[in-house]
Symmetry: C2
Subunit: 253 residues, 2 copies
């Protein structure tokens, strides 16, 4: 039996209407129901008969099931995700539910990609992701810390630029310190490091430091951390923060 | 002296108006001049007095200089980039020019992020980037092949999902075969592999294979290749291609 409703898993970017895609905007406008973490739902304008289902953080699987259940009632549902739903956000949670429970596999599902925090942070400061890079979540809620260490070491040793998501939380404030201790064993103290907090939102704040001299405690749960490669460079400017970028190649600098 | 014009480095996504952000749309509409690779410029609607400066592929630095020179004439310039300008696209080329030549550092420059090919490909098939991943360009135009090998090996050994940009070109059709030979030494033959060709464009084509059984020659210069981690899974569907996704953690499957 095909379910009559549909599900759009919609990325609204890290903050600010300006980074919404046309597809995301349309999916939100057309939906009967908006489901999502309350902080994301609150960013969206109210729209007549549309129902809103805000939920707490950290309940991704239950939120995904709730959205899928609504499609059984024939609803057109937008499951709202920060950033890009496909990058440490809601899309994987939905597919985990489908994987465990076949009953919703007939639902018309589409992922609407969005601007992820690393892209927004990169755009603000220059082009730090201009060369090969790795993207790692420091959250150990769903994976062992030993695997995170292995990946940090592999990424650092092969001279990737590194983007760190979920660098800290109230429950594990020391892990970003552990990560930096490990990175400092492999990478030069002069390596540029960027702390990009709440990009696109009112409390946006960007700090550019070096790996050797910085306090990793600058990262909180709303911070995206970028660690440069050995080629990442700063371009000084008069009266403004320097640009940070990674050249496209290794042959010319 | 501050230069009167301004430069917007605008990401238009991998194809299709639907993935343009509001900021990108506005920056294109407001510009006096559009500069970019002709295939990208051709995608944009014509707009009255706006001047268009299409150029060939592979001339990034010259294209960046041309855009910066136009700002000296007080022009509002949109430098058009495929995907996200910050990910293997035009932004790094602009900052390379600024790094070498200080004269344009006073220009009002902003990067407008866009949906990159890996995000569009991921959205089409499920959520393959739902966990830690690495992004590698296979182009050896600007870096030695030995470094690419080192990074492939590091990424594969630490069980990252891997997104490969620029997997092949007329000048180096065998490198994707070399890359797969290396990956096959480290990763299981059952690892899901996705070839996503021209996503969002008329000739879009997606092939889902396994590392062990596939022909890497399926990749051409318009293909984004995704290699799963050991956790990447397929969800079968009736009458449709399977979903491909990577669970958020390693603890639950």
């Amino acid at each position: 039996m095909t379910v009559p409703g549909r599900l759009r898993i919609v990325g609204i970017g890290p903050g600010g209407e300006d980074w919404l895609t046309k597809e995301a905007s349309r999916s939100i406008t057309e939906a009967n129901d908006l489901v999502g973490y309350s902080a994301y739902i609150d960013r969206l304008p109210h729209n007549g008969g549309q129902r809103r289902h805000p939920s707490g953080n950290g309940t991704e699987l239950e939120r995904a099931r709730h959205a899928l259940r609504l499609t059984e009632e024939g609803r057109d549902v937008a499951l709202i995700s920060g950033g890009d739903p496909g990058i440490f956000a809601m899309a994987a949670a939905v597919f985990e539910v489908l994987d465990r429970d076949p009953r919703w596999r007939g639902v018309d599902i589409r992922v609407c990609p969005g601007i992820s925090a690393m892209q927004a942070a990169a755009a603000r400061i220059g082009a730090p992701l201009g060369h090969d890079f790795c993207v790692i979540s420091l959250s150990e809620n769903l994976k062992p810390w030993s695997l995170i260490e292995k990946r940090l070491l592999a990424a650092a040793s092969a001279d990737f630029v590194i983007a760190l998501y979920n660098p800290a939380s109230g429950a594990r404030p020391r892990r970003i310190h552990d990560a930096f201790a490990l990175l400092r064993e492999v990478r030069a103290p002069t390596t540029p490091v960027v702390f990009a907090h709440a990009i696109g939102r009112e409390d946006e704040r960007i700090v550019i430091e070096t790996l050797g001299a910085t306090d990793p405690g600058l990262a909180d749960m709303s911070t995206l951390v970028l660690i440069g490669s050995s080629r990442t460079r700063l371009i000084p400017r008069k009266g403004a923060a320097p640009f940070v970028y990674t050249p496209r190649g290794t042959k010319d600098f």
